[in-house]
Every structure is written in C-alpha cells, then in structure tokens.
C-alpha cells in the first residue's frame, strides 16, 4: 500500500507558527505547509498573484492530493477566491484570520460592539514594530499616527497562546497608539477544526487502508 498523497497548506506567513502547532497537535503527518510572506498583510493586492504562482508550482510536482489556502479573503475583495476557484484549491472560511480565530459570530459581535477596533494576533503583537510601526511608516513619520488611528477606539488582542509577555507587549502597543486595550483569548479557533477536517483522509483512501 502506498501512503496517501499529502495535503499542501499554503498559509499566510503570519500564521506559520500557529498552523505548524495545530498540525503537530492534531497529529496530521500528511500535511505539508508552505507560507507566503507575512508582509503581504500590508499589500493585499499582491496576495492573489503570489498564491497563484505557489499553487502552480505545487501542481507541477504532482505530489499533492489537494491544496488548501490558510488565508482569509484578507482585503482582496474576492480576488483570492477567484484564483483558488480557478486553480481548484480550497480555503478556510472567513474574511481574515481574526475571523477564523475568533469564530464568525463572535467576531461580528466584537465589531458591532466597536467598529473602531484594531485587531492584533500573536503574530502581529510579536512583530508589531515591523508590521505596524514600520509598515505604516510611523518610524519615519510619527505624526501620521493620528491620521491612521484617529477613528480607532481600541486595540483588541485576539490571543492564540496564553503568554504573559505577549499580553504585556499588546498592552504597550495599545498605549503607543493611544487606544484602549481589550484582550480575548481565541486559541486556534476555527483553524484547528478546519485542519482536522482537511487532515482526515478521503473515504476512498480510508477504504484502501482498510483493505491492506
């Protein structure tokens, strides 16, 4: 019997650590993970093209049973989904990682509670300086802070881990932006259940396994 062909996950670099942990914790050895650069977070218009190139490269190997994008729509306005549909790849549901970590209903409630919420995840807290401060040019133009954040009221830290150091850093980030601070522990949320479903071999492969 040959081993089932692996599933390829193409994730956002900002989710690499969490996806890897979830795979390890779930014990899904047939999953392989590659990531697109996390700084595409600040350039969503470049995500569909980068995804398409990565999928095409993976298809050329003929190695994978399926390809899944671990991405939200991420501000691509449906352009990412159009690429995935054309290439026959799947995607975890949600507009962005904040939503699939938190769950759609809870995330909608958070946003309805305060539209001016600036969301951080573990990754964004860890690399706040690079992705937010430098990404928005605030190290060069600190006065632009008000321009970017004047309509925000609070930082909401959606935490995947339970890490006191990250909580402290998130609180400092909120203070640096002059915003209130809210903490919500989400864990891996919908990410884990999506991977669990993706990691389950298809029925025909299960049948093959039973026959051997």
């Amino acid at each position: 019997m040959s081993a089932p062909r692996p599933v390829l996950l193409i994730g956002c670099g900002a989710l690499a650590r969490e996806i890897s942990w979830a795979i390890t914790r779930g014990g899904w050895p047939n999953m392989e993970l590659v990531c697109l650069p996390a700084d595409l977070h600040n350039r969503p218009q470049d995500i569909p093209g980068a995804m398409k190139a990565r999928i095409r490269a993976a298809k050329e190997t003929g190695k994978y049973s399926k390809i899944l994008a671990i991405y939200g729509d991420c501000g691509t306005g449906g352009a990412l989904d159009a690429v995935l549909a054309a290439e026959g790849a799947g995607r975890i549901a949600g507009a962005h990682c904040y939503e699939f970590y938190t769950g759609s209903r809870a995330f909608t409630a958070l946003n309805d509670e305060e539209a001016g919420s600036f969301y951080l995840t573990d990754y964004l807290v860890r690399f706040f300086d690079r992705l937010v401060i430098e990404g928005l040019g605030l190290e060069r133009y600190p006065h632009l802070k008000d321009e970017y954040f004047r309509n925000y009221k609070r930082v909401v830290y959606l935490a995947q881990s339970d890490d006191a150091a990250l909580r402290k850093k998130a609180r400092q980030a909120a203070s640096r932006l002059g915003l209130d601070y809210v903490y919500r522990h989400t864990g891996f949320g919908g990410l884990e259940s999506y991977l669990a479903a993706a990691g389950t071999p298809p029925e025909e492969e299960k049948d093959d396994l039973r026959k051997t």
């Binding site: 306005g77 507009a95 946003n111 539209a115 925000y152």
Partner: protein
C-alpha cells in the same frame, strides 16, 4: 559648502521655476514650503484657481502616478496630501469667494461598519482640487444618513468608500435604498476602496469603480461632461 548655500529661496524663483519647485515640495511632503509658495504666487497676482490647479493639483498628480506605479507608498502619499492640504487651507476661502469654475457637487462618506477614511479624504481633497464642491459626511454612514445627505445637499455625485471586505457589500444596501426611493438615476454613484473592483462596483449597481483618487477625479469629470452633454442635447431637441 554650507547648508545655507543649498537652501532654495522660493521668492527668488521665477513663476515657472517656483511652480516646478512646488511640485517637488508636494512630492516631498513639505507643507511649510507649500504655504510659502502659495502665498508668493498669490502676491504675484495669480488667481487662487491657477495656484490650485497648476501648482498643487499638478504636483499631487505626479504623486498619484508614482503611487499607482508602486514607487511611492501610503505614508509618502499622506505626507504629500498634507502638504497639499496646507496650501488648500489658504486657497479654500479665496476660491469660495471667487468665480472659479465649479465642476459639480459630491457627497462622500465611508459605509456603515467601516471607520477607514484615508482614501476617502484623499478623494475628497483631489475632487475639491479639481473644482468639485465636496460634502464629506464622515465614516460609518448608514443608508438613512446617505439618503438624508443627498436630500439636504442635492449633489451630482454620491461617493462611497470601504476598506474592508466585510463592509463593502453595504454599498449595495445604499444603492438599493436609492432604487427603492426611485432616485437612483438622480445621482452618479462612484465607489472606491482597496478591496473593491470594477466587477464588484457593477454588481452592486454603482456607475463606476475608482481605483485611486486621481482616477476618481477623471471618472467624475467624464460623467459630469456626459451629463452636461445630455442636458444640452435635451435642450437642443
């Protein structure tokens, strides 16, 4: 050589040199220099409209092109916009009191659930620079507030902005409200925002998608010209 010798004295430049220097200063986001240049041109007898269009808007046009081409990024564009705003703060009252050409009127706002306004503000500023009267009704605007603003200000154009995939569908809610009230065709509806596309704009019933502020101006002008052409055709018939 000392730094002083490198300094450019704006008042010593002739008009053409000064305008080119102001384009550079807008590009570099130098608000104080723009204020000074604007005042010098006005003192030399330039009309506020000429200062606006030839010194400020043309300068910002270069910024827009370089943003589109990926040479400049949002922080630099904001710096430039702030420099242009500094000049406009001097010109705005003078323009209001002058007989400068009026292109039309626009009501613009960011849709419900969305608090992002950088793009909207840039569009408003560039539209104003192109001679449109702009009524900015702010952020997180629901359909009722859009309708009330249309009723109150009677614009030619409704502009809606959204930065989020989750909020952009609300544009359809607003446009459907216009249809329900039978007033959809009373307005040119332009939409914009990073996640939007031409297909999306057409699918929600907007007249056009504006990829950036400069394009918004071009599209608005073109719709206004068509509308005026149609009005003339009706009069001629």
């Amino acid at each position: 050589m000392s730094d002083d010798e490198d300094d450019i004295v704006l008042s010593k430049l002739d008009d053409a040199q000064l305008v080119l220097q102001m384009h550079d200063d807008i590009y570099d986001g130098l608000g104080d220099e723009i204020i000074e240049g604007t005042q010098i041109l006005l003192q030399r007898g330039w009309t506020p409209f000429d200062v606006l269009t030839k010194a400020l808007v043309e300068g910002m046009g270069v910024v827009g092109v370089d943003f589109r081409d990926g040479i400049l990024f949002v922080p630099e564009v904001l710096q430039s916009a702030n420099a242009m705003k500094a000049g406009m703060s001097i010109l705005r009252p003078l323009l209001a009191a002058s007989d400068a050409p009026r292109m039309g009127k626009m009501v613009i706002g960011t849709v419900k659930g969305d608090i992002h306004d950088i793009g909207k503000n840039l569009v408003g500023m560039m539209m104003e620079g192109a001679g449109f009267e702009v009524v900015d009704i702010g952020i997180n605007i629901d359909a009722e507030a859009y309708l009330a603003a249309l009723e109150e200000h009677k614009p030619d154009i409704l502009g809606m902005s959204a930065l989020l995939t989750t909020t952009m569908p609300y544009m359809k809610v607003v446009i459907d409200s216009l249809k329900t009230k039978g007033i959809r065709h009373d307005y040119i509806v332009l939409v914009g925002g990073a996640p939007l596309s031409e297909e999306f704009a057409l699918s929600v019933g907007a007249d056009a998608y504006c990829r950036d502020a400069a394009i918004a101006v071009d599209i608005a002008k073109s719709f206004m010209a068509r509308q005026q052409g149609a009005a003339i055709a009706v009069l001629d018939a």
